[in-house]
Symmetry: C2
């Protein structure tokens, strides 16, 4: 009788952070694809586009003029999803019609004055400036808001409408769904095991080595055991760190170095500027600053949509929307693939 | 000082079925869109394409020949995500590396012999045949499997690779994430309130009338209070019904009638064959058949991706993937919009 093989047999895996399962169907990469293909990327982005509202010196749709910035540049989102100083709803009487107040603020952060560079093409000093600015924003907005979500939507396929390298920050009075559940699951684990879940997890992954892609003195880049997107990854410090602002100077330099390496590998997967959504999760802020957050471990999440090629993505639809996410290659296969990619960016390759 | 207005001020709403919040930003529809636009749909689908593996009489990639069917037609998915009779993993020792066995089966169901029709363009009898077949499949597969997920991915933007009208059925030994949480939340509500959550919910919505789009003797189509996708809706029986197989003959006829009406409105929103993922959730099957499932209310979910036009969708990325879903128009605005649309399909309109 056949023996169980993770690389061959469909199975489900559990994400202890979100308490959700993912269906893994390793045999399914073989199926042909006749569905939608994405537009290939434009590769002729000008260094400075006088009409791009993110470029230095340009006028934004609301009439404000950007400074002639030469590093990062942060400004208020001109079309924010969250607003401050708004009235609050009456507390609702019914468990079926629950509304709550939501105040917040939305910022945009440019990574660099040039439109034709991306993080992996920047110098370590330039990426370090991005990290320092992230830290500063998290500290500043964290004084007032319970959650500060730093995230980057990259590529047209992710709904990103502007090729200029940038990210967003949405800070809110409420703790959003995903952080809220991670707050609870990490706390429950901590109470039971007396050590932070993700610190334990990284230790075990460093022993197993199967899903680690790269590491340096202070960081590990890996495909989590429970990854949903084909090339989903996590970036974690080796030391127990609750928030960006707790990183030491050398840990920030190491972060810049590993970010350049990992984003280079991502770009080299299909020889394109790799689309993804990424963001940071760390201990909540605002009112949570007074609480013990020892159960929290800082981490970045990368969610790239592509599956087969530069133009064929994984569609999270139907079964995924209604029942449970499903993936077509195992986390181990994805890690192997990424590990094997060159460390020199395809744009720097001498063919 | 300004008073609270649901139609104007950002807020969060709670989904009691999934225990998740959605951020509602009603003021945000005003922002301009410079991002990705989808390809307009092809509208010249042939009635019978000799190369389409779903058409009657055609040969599928695996060499099997479809019968010359003249109503619905069900066959095994040639590239199933779930398999039967596979070995199971060893029970895992670590809370961080939990794997479980997953066996199951995947079917494809054609709705109609013609490729150039969709459900809203079919006759009530033809739609009724689809409903009867759904019921039959749920009963059959429900004998063996704990969950039978019937779902339809429609449109290229939903990753649907074949224009022939069809849906899929994935049946599994495990209860997937979403059904599992709804199983728990509905049970908790039932224990507390002594009546099924969604039966109570529909009663209250029928009183409020704000989010009802259409109704007939036995069904209600509404935008749920906690909707995430711009035009997300739910279709529910007025009576307490646990599973498709519990519907009476006249309830099935009413279902066919309301499905044609609702899908006509959807198509009329942007005068295109409206893309969506839809599916049925009802009481679990298999081993759950022996349990009391009085807390369950059958319902269909429609998740359409479009936001502004036939080619501009809502991107659930960045903030949505990392923190919490966010929507740009209220559930009430979406219901108003859909309610106001004509009941005659745009293809039948005499302009
Ligand atoms: O089975 P299909 O239609 O080829 O595939 C489609 O639906 C499946 C179930 O929702 C998804 O897992 C796939 O990503 C999607 O492309
Ligand atoms: O703010 P942007 O980049 O215009 O908008 C993009 O990111 C937001 C936050 O993830 C999403 O809500 C939008 O759907 C998406 O189009």
């Amino acid at each position: 009788i056949r023996t169980w093989d993770l690389r061959e047999h469909p199975h489900i895996r559990y994400n202890p952070l979100t308490e959700e399962w993912v269906t893994v169907s390793p045999h399914r990469m073989k199926r042909p694809w006749q569905g939608q293909v994405e537009k290939p990327q434009e590769d002729d982005i000008p260094r400075h586009d006088p009409k791009n509202p993110l470029c230095p010196g340009n006028t934004r749709p609301n009439g404000k003029v950007n400074p002639d910035y030469d590093s990062t540049f942060v400004f208020d989102n001109d079309f924010p999803a969250l607003l401050d100083d708004i009235p609050s709803p009456e507390p609702s009487d019914s468990p079926l019609f629950k509304t709550a107040a939501a105040c917040g603020t939305c910022k945009v952060m440019c990574f660099h004055p040039r439109s034709d560079v991306t993080l992996p093409l920047m110098s370590p000093q330039e990426v370090r400036a991005v990290i320092d600015k992230w830290t500063e924003i998290n500290t500043d907005l964290g004084k007032k808001y319970n959650w500060v979500q730093i995230f980057e939507n990259k590529g047209a396929v992710m709904g990103c409408s502007n090729p200029h390298p940038h990210c967003q920050v949405w800070a809110s009075s409420y703790l959003p769904n995903d952080p809220a559940i991670k707050h609870r699951t990490q706390r429950e684990y901590y109470m039971k095991h007396k050590s932070p879940m993700l610190v334990d997890y990284v230790k075990q992954e460093l022993n197993k080595k199967e899903r680690i892609i790269i590491e340096n003195d202070s960081w590990v880049w890996l495909v989590p055991y429970w990854a949903v997107w084909p090339y989903e990854t996590m970036l974690l410090p080796k030391r127990h760190v609750q928030r960006l602002e707790d990183l030491t100077d050398s840990e920030r330099n190491d972060l810049a170095a590993i970010m350049i390496k990992l984003l280079t590998k991502y770009d080299n997967l299909f020889d394109i500027s790799f689309p993804y959504s990424m963001g940071w999760h760390g201990a909540p802020t605002g009112e949570y600053m007074d609480e013990d957050n020892s159960h929290w471990q800082l981490h970045a999440l990368y969610y790239p949509p592509l599956l087969r090629s530069a133009t064929v993505k994984k569609f999270m639809v139907g079964y995924e929307m209604l029942s449970q996410p499903q993936r077509d290659l195992t986390a181990e296969q994805a890690a192997d693939k990424l590990r094997g990619l060159p460390d020199t960016h395809y744009k720097h390759r001498t063919s």
